[in-house]
């Protein structure tokens, strides 16, 4: 059987079951509020959000692969494009674009035009250091790690902090070679 052709983010989003974004947004808000109460320190909340995103990423990647029919990407450039064009669209219904490539093609930015996590949100003075959407960076990091790419994902711009867009920098640290773990000394 020939492998099925990769599907576009739009086509997938149109075919999957969807829910009102407000349920999603308000539930995420409830999570952030719980963390702020439990952990008190904004820096700890940033860390925990990233960790929760990572936990989601390592699970969500399989759904992404199953629904998108994406096969192994040839390089990191293609990977970044697929995350932006297919990944964000199929899960969150929003489009993202890839820019700011460095010379050796291992670091780029993903810019979000729209971000369903932040509807209704304004950071109070007590939370100015909060990366409210930090869960997203964790999701990308977790998902890529499951397909052998170690990355570092950081926020460059954040509308809630006064910038004009949401920009995530994704930096490829190490591509774990695809060998069987017999020689692995980890």
């Amino acid at each position: 059987m020939a492998p099925a052709a990769p599907r576009s983010g739009d086509a997938i989003f149109a075919s999957v079951e969807r829910v009102n974004a407000e349920l999603f947004t308000l539930t995420y808000g409830a999570i952030v509020r719980q963390l702020l109460t439990d952990l008190e320190e904004v820096e700890e909340v940033n860390k925990q959000l990233d960790q929760m995103g990572y936990n989601i990423g390592i699970r969500l990647i399989d759904e992404f692969l199953a629904k998108s029919n994406v096969s192994r990407c040839v390089d990191f450039k293609e990977t970044a494009e697929v995350i932006a064009k297919v990944g964000f669209k199929m899960f969150l219904g929003v489009t993202a674009s890839v820019t700011n490539w460095d010379a050796d093609g291992t670091c780029c930015s993903i810019v979000l035009e729209d971000n369903p996590l932040v509807d209704f949100v304004e950071l109070p003075d007590t939370c100015q250091g909060l990366y409210y959407c930090n869960i997203l960076s964790g999701v990308i990091r977790g998902a890529l790690e499951m397909v052998s790419m170690k990355t570092e994902v950081t926020w460059i711009r954040d509308v809630l902090r006064g910038d004009d867009a949401y920009e995530l920098q994704v930096k490829l640290l190490k591509q774990v070679p695809e060998e069987y773990p017999y020689k692995d000394d980890e």
Partner: protein, 141 residues
Amino acid sequence: MAAIYSLYIINKSGGLIFYKDYGSKGRMDTNDSLRVASLWHSMHAISQQLSPTTGCSGIELLEADTFDLHCFQSLTGTKFFVVCEPGTQHMEALLKVIYELYTDYVLKNPFYEMEMPIRCELFDVNLTQAIQKDRVVLLGR
């Protein structure tokens, strides 16, 4: 029931996380099924090394006198394989369906711990439906 004898799911380290047999043939006790899983994990890896061309992703189909074994490995390293009557159709499509059920009813379940044996009632229920003979025939369309 399609002529499927058994279904295995192996995690990326070669541990058996799900096993189910359907009917009388090829029924195995727990120890044997664990052994088959880890053997298959190794054979699958060896087949990639043996391949004369690069980029081989391992054995997809093993045909024997008395059974076929179809294997699907996700890019994340989880392997799904069915053992069935020789010549049974639509097994690649069935494995894809099972992969999707796994992403729904296993990975979205907060009580499932990654890489551990799968004990999710909803996964079992939906799997039983998917494997019905008439459903499998529809996959050919």
